[in-house]
Amino acid sequence: MNREIGINQLKRRDFLKAGLVFGAGASGLAAGYAAVPDAFARAVYAAKQGGVSNDNVLVMIQLAGGNDGLRTVVPLSDPALHDLRPVLSGPMVSQALPLTTDFGLNHNLGGIKRLWDKGKLAIVQGVGYDNPTFSHFESIRIWETGDPTRRQVDGWLGRTLAKAYDTNGHPLTGCACGATDVPGALRDLQATMTVIQDQKKFGFTGGSEVEAAVGALYKGTPGIYGALFDTALATASETIAVLRTSSAEYQPLADYSDKVKLVYSSQNQLAAALQLAAELIVTGTGVKLLHVTLGGFDTHYTELSRHDDLMGYLDSAVSAFYQDLAAHGKSDNVLIATWSEFGRRPLENASGGTDHGAAAPLLLIGDPVKGGLYGSAPSLISLDDTGNLKYSVDFRSVYQEILSGHLGADSGDILGATFADVPFLRAPVPAV
């Protein structure tokens, strides 16, 4: 529902921006609308000068559907696990890749385990929030907005984009890769961002003539969708120009294998999406906040093989992505973080799967992290009254560390509060 709210609320700047981009081909049209007072435009631009000025990049990976935390970071020595999961626990414990005596990674996370060995994987355990909802869509919205009270309508990354970055002339500052619609985390009506499903196809098939005509067509568009349309077209056009250059320069230095068996409901080619993310980072397009999604985690049924496949898919895509960035000398300022709307019920169901749960671990990967385990793993014995794991770290603590420590943004302003520290970064940047 929040998708519908406030489509009239775009700042004048966003509306004007569309008018500023297409000078040629539309001159003389709608004279009353295209006239932009330069002083106003500059004033808006100047207002962003106090924003983020470092080159740090954040890549959020959404594991959509509710990732099973217990099968991702496996408790190796808790005897309660077998009682809760008679079917699912056996192979997951015996095959796990040990991190410590008590915890191991899913056996299909071998590439990510190698990053752990190099100190480039931080795991925050027991992440959640108070009074969890077991609805996918409510919980996704809570994670996307960073607001369990459900009053906030804008995404936490969208707010970051709008408050802390100057996107004027930088259409790719916020970008969703491998998607067609704006992910909720990036949504903010004051923010400009790009969505690219497939970079090879991103562009007007009719060529520059069509692009120019459409640019002239979508300018000062009336109606409640006018500003959204105009901004989307203008941003698309700027993006096409940027991609034209970047595609020519980029050669992947890793194998983004798409050959891993795809899981049902996974429309999201994570490897392809991350390869696009790498291209955008390596070629200096000015990307700062990237979002990609891997779906299929709602494993109510025959979870064993499905979840293993998903872990393998995540592992190969993330490993290739890191390798590619490192080979290009670009890995030192890129932080990769996973998120999911909830974990799963510790007690397995009769379908060899698990129902919706609560607390789960998050993975933070890359050169900026200080490897290790953070937070505390939830007890398998002391469950809450819905039979779910109790959280120990508020998810906004993780956001806070990302915002202030990695991006250098004003986390208190964006999240509206401060949270307990989870110091998983090696050398936090000074906040603005």
């Binding site: 077991f134 300018k219 009336p222």
Partner: protein, 490 residues
């Protein structure tokens, strides 16, 4: 997203201010830009309306809905997938009220038989089924039934990936069409026992001894009541009461080589006769449950009946219908009025839709161009406007980039609507579809000038008018019409 249209989601931002242009401004701008008499003619009807601008409360387009013919076009754009010239002529001569009657009272035409359906394991490409449906949307004599079938496909969602047998998706489409205009009580029984749905939300895997909660939860959260109107305990108890359904027995089995390179063969089910799920009492729960405040031994019909006692169900369906057919942010009083009518009629879809189409809100000036066409609506309307019947392959190929592949919704909440269809990727792909469609139909285009009136009521922005007038040939004029913001709206 779920339909929790709760007041707490309302933004604290200032009231929307009026933006865009008045009729006078549009005319002035068009004249100032030197677009000439042609554009002014495109923009206007009579001078009388100049002094009476519509009370624009969300829409800055000049509403022409005071005119009967504009109301007919508005109705056909929303209740069907746009129109061909012939369909429009027929509706215009019938008038608005008789067209509403005709849409509501005509029984849905059956879709043609889909030939590939008995393929073992339903292993035919989904694109074949998508194309089959698009062809039916283009050619059906009852396009309102198709529009409603698509509406229910987005509401009672299943996707072919998890259903894992495309024949079951074909069956679901046939069932959704047959039930689309009936009543919610019988629909919910058919939805619950639909084989593709039994797979998609795991009810086929649920037993009374160890219930799978997936269907029970989404039935209440997304299909009927919405969050906040039931408890987690209701989800668990509902899952018990619903357990016991299984897929129907296949007509036969066939051994098929599924991997030629490695000579892997598998025994796959062959479904030739459509059948609903079957209830296996041995897998059911035999005891009492407390569901939505009442204890007892209840079966699936009992679960549905209890859900329909809750006023929240009619509210949710009415709000969704209002957003899809009337206004992106429907007034709560309006939604409640629709919901009350719906509930009093024992959830009769025809009664609900009649009250939607005949409401004052439906043809209010603020509703004019207040909705965004979904990719499917956009493409089918474009093909109908062009009089083109051979575009189903192009339409199916173009859907994904705009965010809509039939039988493959993004998640169990279905497709988003209106503003959520707009992103950098989707706007470019909407334009690319127009390029592709015109590339196939260049030879025999109908009159573009007539189309500006037939499909856009002659109400266009100065930009559209100017570019239309500058366009060198008929194909370029059609490009401007179909790629214009005006044509994206309904």
């Amino acid at each position: 997203m779920s339909l929790d249209a709760a007041p707490d989601t309302v933004s604290s931002s200032p009231m929307p201010r009026r933006r865009g242009m008045t009729r006078r401004q549009a005319l002035t701008a068009a004249v100032a830009a030197g677009v000439g008499v042609g554009a002014v003619r495109l923009l206007g009807t009579t001078m009388q309306t100049l002094s009476q601008p519509p009370p624009a409360a969300g829409s800055d387009w000049i509403s022409p809905l005071e005119s009967e013919s504009a109301r007919v076009m508005h109705l056909l754009r929303r209740a069907t997938f746009g129109y061909t010239d012939v369909e429009l002529e027929s509706a215009l001569s019938a008038g608005f009220n008789r067209t509403v009657d005709r849409l509501l009272e005509t029984a849905p035409a059956e879709a043609p038989v889909f030939d590939a359906s008995p393929t073992p394991g339903g292993r035919f490409p989904i694109a074949q089924l998508q194309q089959w449906w698009v062809n039916h949307m283009l050619g059906t004599p009852t396009p309102y039934a198709e529009r409603m079938t698509l509406f229910w496909h987005g509401h009672f969602t299943s996707d072919y990936r998890k259903a894992a047998d495309n024949t079951l998706m074909y069956w679901q489409n046939l069932t959704w069409r047959r039930m689309a205009l009936t009543d919610l009580r019988s629909m919910l029984m058919q939805v619950t026992t639909d084989p593709a749905m039994l797979r998609y939300l795991d009810l086929a895997a649920s037993t009374g001894q160890s219930p799978n909660e997936n269907y029970s939860r989404e039935l209440m959260e997304l299909f009927t009541m919405g969050p906040g109107n039931y408890t987690e305990e209701d989800v668990r108890q509902g899952a018990r009461a619903l357990a016991g359904w299984q897929l129907p027995r296949p007509d036969s089995y066939a051994t098929v080589t599924i991997d030629n390179a490695n000579s892997v063969a598998r025994r796959l089910p062959v479904y030739t006769t459509q059948a609903p799920g079957v209830f296996n009492n041995r897998r059911a729960y035999h005891g009492t449950v407390t569901f939505l405040g009442q204890a007892g031994s209840i079966d699936t019909q009992g679960v549905i009946d209890r859900i329909l006692v809750q006023p929240a169900t009619a509210q949710l369906i009415a709000a969704k219908v209002a957003q899809d057919f009337v206004n992106p942010q429907p007034d709560q009083v309006f939604v409640t009025r629709l919901a009350d009518t719906f509930r009093r009629s024992d959830y009769d879809i025809k009664t609900l839709m009649r009250s939607v189409f005949t409401s004052q809100e439906f043809t209010a000036a603020a509703s004019y161009r207040a909705l965004l066409k979904s990719p499917t609506e956009l493409m089918v309307h474009a093909a109908k406007a062009l009089g083109a019947t051979g575009l189903s392959r192009v339409i199916v190929a173009a859907g994904s980039g705009m965010g809509q592949s039939l039988f493959d919704p993004p998640d169990v909440s279905g497709w988003p609507s209106n503003a959520a269809w707009i992103s950098t990727n989707t706007v470019v792909e909407r334009v690319n579809f127009v390029t592709a469609a015109l590339g196939q139909t260049k030879a025999s285009l109908p009159s573009a000038s007539a189309a500006v009136h037939r499909h856009l009521e002659g109400i266009v922005s100065p930009q559209t008018a100017s570019l239309f007038n500058q366009a060198p040939d008929e194909a370029a004029r059609w490009f401007i019409i179909l790629a214009s913001p005006e044509f994206q709206l309904k």
